[in-house]
Amino acid sequence: MTMSDVVLEHYNYWVVIVLMMIGMYTVISRGHLLKKVIGLNIFQTSVFIMYISIGYVEGGTVPIVEGGAASDVVYANPLPHVLILTAIVVGVSTTALALALIIRIREAYGTLEEYDIQKLDQDAESE
C-alpha cells in the first residue's frame, strides 16, 4: 500500500480529528461562554462525521430498499446513522439548555467572559 492510499483511506478520520481539536481548543482557550458552546458543537459534529464515515461503503447506496428485495445491492451501514440521528437531537437539547444558562448568567453577572465572572465571584467571597 502506497503512501497516497494511506492518506486517502484515512483523510476523513484526520479531518474529523482536526475539527475535534479546533472545537476543543475553542472550549479551552476562549473565555466567552457562547464561544465555548459553539466550540462544543463543532466537537460534537466532528464525532457525527466520524460515525458516518465508518458507516460509508464504497460503491454502496443509501440504506433504503427500492422495490423488491434486491440481494446484490450493497447498502451503507444503517446502524451509525441511527446512533447519530439520536445524537443530533440530544445535542440540540443540550445546546438549548446551555444557551438558557448563558442568558441567565448574563442577567446575573452582566458579562459572559469567564475571567470576569470568576473575578466577580472571588470579590463577592472576599467581601
Binding site: 475535534m20 482557550s29 464515515s53 458507516g55 451501514n77 447519530i84 443530533i88 470579590d123
Partner: protein, 212 residues
C-alpha cells in the same frame, strides 16, 4: 456482504471518483469554516458561520450515503440550533467577545499533542469506505438483511430507530423533555441579579445576604 456488482459497471469508477472528490473538498471547506468560526470575534458572524458549518456537514452526510442524518442535521443542526443561538443573541444586547492574548499557548500545545495521539490511533483503523470493515459485520448485517422483511419498512434507519430501538428513542424524547423543562425553569420565574461593578444598579441576592 454480497459481491460488488458495480465493479463490472464501467460508469461506476467515475461516479466513485466524484463522490470521493466531493467528500474531500467538502471536508476541507468544513475545516476552513471551523477555523473562521473560532477566529471571528463578532458573535453574530460566528453564529452564522456555525450555521454554514452545520449545512456543510449535512452535505457531507449526503455524500456519505446517510440521507436521514443529512435531513436531520439540515433541519435540526443548521436550522433549529442556529435559530436558538440567534434567539439567545437577541437577549444579549451589545454582547461582544473580548480580544485577550492571555492563555493561548498552552491550550494549543495540549490540542496539538492530543490531535497527534488521535491521528496515531487512526492508522490501524479500517480504510474509509472498505466493505470488509468490522463495523459492517455482526448486528449491522443482521439489520440490513432482516429489517425490511420483518418490519415492512423500506427505510432501514427508520425501522431500527422506531421499531428495534424504539425504547432508545423513547429515552431520547425524555432527554428533550428534560431539556425543555430545564430551559423553562432557568429562564422563567423570578430573576435575581448579582450586584457587581458592571451592574451597579442591580440589587440582588448577594446584597440581600449582606443586609440580613
Amino acid at each position: 456482504m454480497p459481491p460488488l456488482k458495480a465493479a463490472t459497471d464501467p460508469g461506476w469508477v467515475s461516479t466513485l471518483m466524484i463522490e470521493l472528490i466531493a467528500n474531500n473538498v467538502l471536508l476541507l471547506f468544513l475545516a476552513i469554516v471551523a477555523v473562521a468560526v473560532v477566529r471571528v470575534r463578532q458573535l453574530l458572524v460566528s453564529v452564522m458561520l456555525f450555521g454554514i458549518y452545520s449545512l456543510l456537514s449535512a452535505a457531507i452526510f449526503v455524500v456519505m450515503l446517510a440521507a436521514d442524518v443529512a435531513f436531520t442535521e439540515a433541519a435540526v443542526g443548521a436550522g433549529i440550533a442556529t435559530v436558538l443561538m440567534l434567539a439567545a443573541l437577541a437577549r444579549l444586547p451589545g454582547e461582544k467577545e473580548e480580544a485577550r492574548a492571555r492563555g493561548q499557548f498552552w491550550p494549543l500545545v495540549l490540542v496539538v499533542a492530543t490531535g497527534a495521539l488521535l491521528i496515531y490511533g487512526t492508522i490501524d483503523m479500517p480504510g474509509f469506505g472498505k466493505a470488509d470493515n468490522v463495523a459492517h459485520r455482526g448486528v449491522a448485517m443482521q439489520y440490513v438483511e432482516r429489517a425490511p422483511k420483518e418490519t415492512g419498512i423500506p427505510n432501514m434507519v427508520t425501522s431500527i430507530l422506531a421499531s428495534y430501538r424504539g425504547l432508545d428513542t423513547l429515552g431520547e424524547v425524555l432527554v428533550i423533555f428534560t431539556a425543555g423543562l430545564g430551559v423553562l425553569l432557568v429562564l422563567g420565574g423570578v430573576h435575581t441579579k448579582i450586584a457587581s461593578p458592571l451592574r451597579p444598579d442591580a440589587v440582588g441576592i448577594r446584597d440581600g445576604e449582606r443586609r440580613g
